[in-house]
């Protein structure tokens, strides 16, 4: 793949109390972000386990962002 056109698929695991609320706000403000970013709301990022990050990679994402 040409590195100049490579757009990584990113999974964002966002805490509902902060990062997800921020993403919500970004949406309300009509701020754009790439479609290659997929946001999943989690009750708390403390709940995220290593195996979930691995499963995301197994499913083909290029990176995982844990935001909380």
């Amino acid at each position: 793949m040409d590195s100049s056109t490579f757009e990584p698929k990113i999974l964002a695991l966002c805490c509902r109390h902060c990062a997800y609320a921020a993403a919500d706000l970004a949406g309300a403000m009509r701020i754009r972000y790439p479609t290659s970013i997929r946001i999943v709301e989690v009750p708390c990022t403390g709940r995220v386990e290593a195996v979930e990050l691995l499963h995301a990679f197994e499913e083909g994402v290029d990176g995982v962002m844990v935001a909380g």
């Binding site: 691995l54 990679f57 197994e58």
Partner: protein, 226 residues
């Protein structure tokens, strides 16, 4: 508790050889609480095996299961039906669990995914220190509750030796001298004279030196003795 450490991914892949379909079997008891082979570790290792084997160009189908105790027949018997579809089982249980699987299911090879290391105490989160060697003839009653078999590098029955310096062992300064600890504790109770009695050589016949050990409790057996 029985404590183990996971083998490296490279070693595990080497053990798996040409296997195309693998069942990773965890154990819900000792190796779960020492974070070596419980449900979580089964999930992480399985995922890693799937990705690594795919990257290496020889994808392995990996399924996961964790039983409450791999060292008891009644917990592993329910696995019997599903084993036929696998080339090999990778057990993350201790050596007892791995052997239980091989004995119970002789038609499929069960490989070890962890190294069973010791009978240890979790002295703090993430740190396990050896406390027992299952010698079969407990001496804690005469050593003030500190085991010289498991904790003295030389397994001395009368100590300390000349290698004890400032309370630590000459083998490694991170090892507290067990006999220093024993004497300190005897001193605390004002009973140092009890340690002046020279202990005779230990009977290692009750340990591994007498061959594999076995306990038979006739009062607990359900079948008649042959």
């Amino acid at each position: 508790m029985i404590v183990g450490e996971q083998k490296s991914l490279e070693e595990i892949l080497g053990l798996l050889g040409d296997a195309k379909k693998v069942l990773v079997a965890g154990c819900g008891t000792c190796v779960t609480v020492c974070f070596a082979g419980g449900e979580k570790e089964v999930g992480i290792l399985s995922s890693a095996l799937r990705m690594k084997s795919e990257l290496d160009g020889h994808p392995i189908a990996v399924d996961e299961v964790t039983v409450q105790r791999q060292c008891e027949w009644e917990y592993i018997d329910p696995l019997k039906e599903r084993l036929a579809e696998y080339d090999v089982v990778l057990s993350l249980a201790c050596g007892i669990g791995v052997q239980a699987m091989n004995e119970r299911f002789p038609n499929i090879i069960t490989l070890p995914g962890i190294n069973t290391t010791s009978l240890s105490l979790p002295v703090e989160q993430g740190v396990w220190e050896e406390r027992c060697q299952a010698c079969g003839d407990c001496v804690l009653g005469i050593t003030f509750g500190i085991c010289p078999i498991a904790r003295c590098s030389k397994q001395l029955m009368n100590g300390p030796c000349g290698g004890s310096q400032n309370g630590v062992c000459e083998v490694d300064p991170s090892i507290p001298c067990a006999w220093q600890l024993i004497w300190d504790r005897a001193n605390m109770f004002g009973q140092m004279e009890r340690l002046l009695e020279v202990q005779p050589p230990k009977n290692w016949g009750q340990s591994r030196d007498g061959g594999p050990r076995k306990i038979v409790r006739e009062d607990l057996r359900l079948t008649e003795r042959e």
